[in-house]
Amino acid sequence: MKNFYNSINIQKILYITFFSLLYFQLLTYKAYPDNIKNSEMIVQQMIADAKKHALKTIKLSPKERSLKIEKLIKRFINLDFMARATTGSFWKKATNTQKEKYKSALLKQIVNTIEEHLNTLATLSYKPQKSEARGKKLVYVKGIIKDHSKKIPDVNLLWKLAENKKGKFLVLDLEIEGISLVSTHKAETMSILRKNRGNFNALLNTFSKGQ
């Protein structure tokens, strides 16, 4: 048998194939767990900071409170991505000023949503669940919000994260019980834009009226 291998040099080929496969496997193996770990850390840090904010900002005026929440969101959420994702093909047609105005309007909307739920968040606990790498860039971090008094049923959360150009993992979307924040915002924005034949200023006016 040994002579047979030596004669046609298959053993060497097998070794090379095996080690090259192992090398590539290790490369990808290292990359995915790192992404998952980083993403999980970001989500945990965000929730811890939000809880701290909920307790610290109770005595602040509504304006000061909003500013604090704005800072928190900017640190953890990829607002640029969300703005592009919620406006679809209309994003390319908007001017830079319109884009900036839309981003700040979107930020205000997210701040309003978070402000309403921040007080309840302080009394709830977050339990991380299984996370997974999706494709080349995305990471899904799953978790459950639990109310120990059992007045509120468990809420399943799914955070979608990706690395930005600076190498930091940021949140792209949040799904609460399967309902996506980006999809909901997109449905709303696209409906306004379609009604106004893609007029971005009309969208901005509607947003400012709503706020």
């Binding site: 994702a85 309840t120 999706r134 494709g135 399967g178 980006v182 999809s183 409906s191």
Partner: protein, 245 residues
């Protein structure tokens, strides 16, 4: 009798085959809304009814009725709804859900459903005739905003009517009268639970589109379960990766 048992077994086989074939997960498709103008008017009507009548009642309900009493009312309403889940789970050949729902219905029946002996430990998937129609590949149809009932797909609305009708046919007159009282109670109970979300929807720039999106995502998740979430996420992954490039 022989004829009846034959037709039942035929129906069972037919449903089983259809269950195996059913894969009408057109989840990525946007829901059609040909009656948008009318729907928006009905939404405005529902909103004013909610803000002027249901919401104040719901607020005072929370203030005056203690939590344990509210909880037992919620339990009772859920219990009253369980036969619909049992029948539709059986029609969908979901044996596990049928057995669990039947067991829970009988157990909680000892307190007429006011007390949950199981303490929500057993997860039962709520099933209605709308979801049975979905299993039979009936398309979800256009979006409707129904007065007092809120957002529904045509399939869901047809299912709701059918469920009410079939429950009315099998139950006694007193139960039917009781269910008439329970409709407004159910409305207030649901409003109480969703208070934060509803207020958030009203404050948004286009509340109609927002509620439509919330409803469709939630309904599809309830009807198709994890299959829907997987298909939806695969689609959004592709979109997100494109945007990240």
């Amino acid at each position: 009798m022989k004829k009846l048992s034959f037709s039942f077994s035929y129906l069972f086989i037919l449903l089983f085959v259809l269950n195996g074939c059913s894969n009408n997960l057109k989840t990525s498709a946007e829901i059609t809304d040909p009656f948008e103008d009318l729907n928006r008017n009905i939404f405005a009507f529902n909103k004013s009814v909610d803000q002027n009548i249901v919401s104040p009642i719901s607020d005072s309900y929370v203030k005056t009725v203690p939590y344990p009493v509210r909880k037992s009312i919620t339990n009772h309403l859920k219990w009253m709804d369980t036969p619909t889940t049992i029948v539709n789970s059986a029609l969908q050949v979901d044996l596990e859900n049928t057995i669990l729902a039947s067991a829970k219905f009988m157990l909680n029946g000892l307190s007429l459903g006011f007390y949950d002996f199981d303490k929500d430990e057993t997860k039962i998937h709520k099933k209605d005739f709308g979801s049975t129609l979905a299993k039979l590949n009936v398309p979800e149809g256009p979006f409707l905003m129904v007065p007092f009932l809120g957002p529904k797909t045509t399939r869901h609305f047809a299912g709701t009517i059918s469920d009410r009708q079939s429950l009315g046919n099998v139950s006694s007159d007193s139960v039917n009268k009781l269910s008439l009282v329970e409709i407004p109670i159910n409305l207030v109970d649901k409003r109480t639970k969703l208070a934060n979300n509803i207020d958030n929807i009203y404050e948004s720039p286009d509340p109609y589109s927002k509620i439509k999106s919330y409803y469709i995502q939630n309904r599809r998740k309830n009807v198709y379960g994890d299959k829907y979430l997987e298909i939806k996420n695969n689609k959004s992954d592709l979109e997100f990766e494109k945007l990240l490039q």
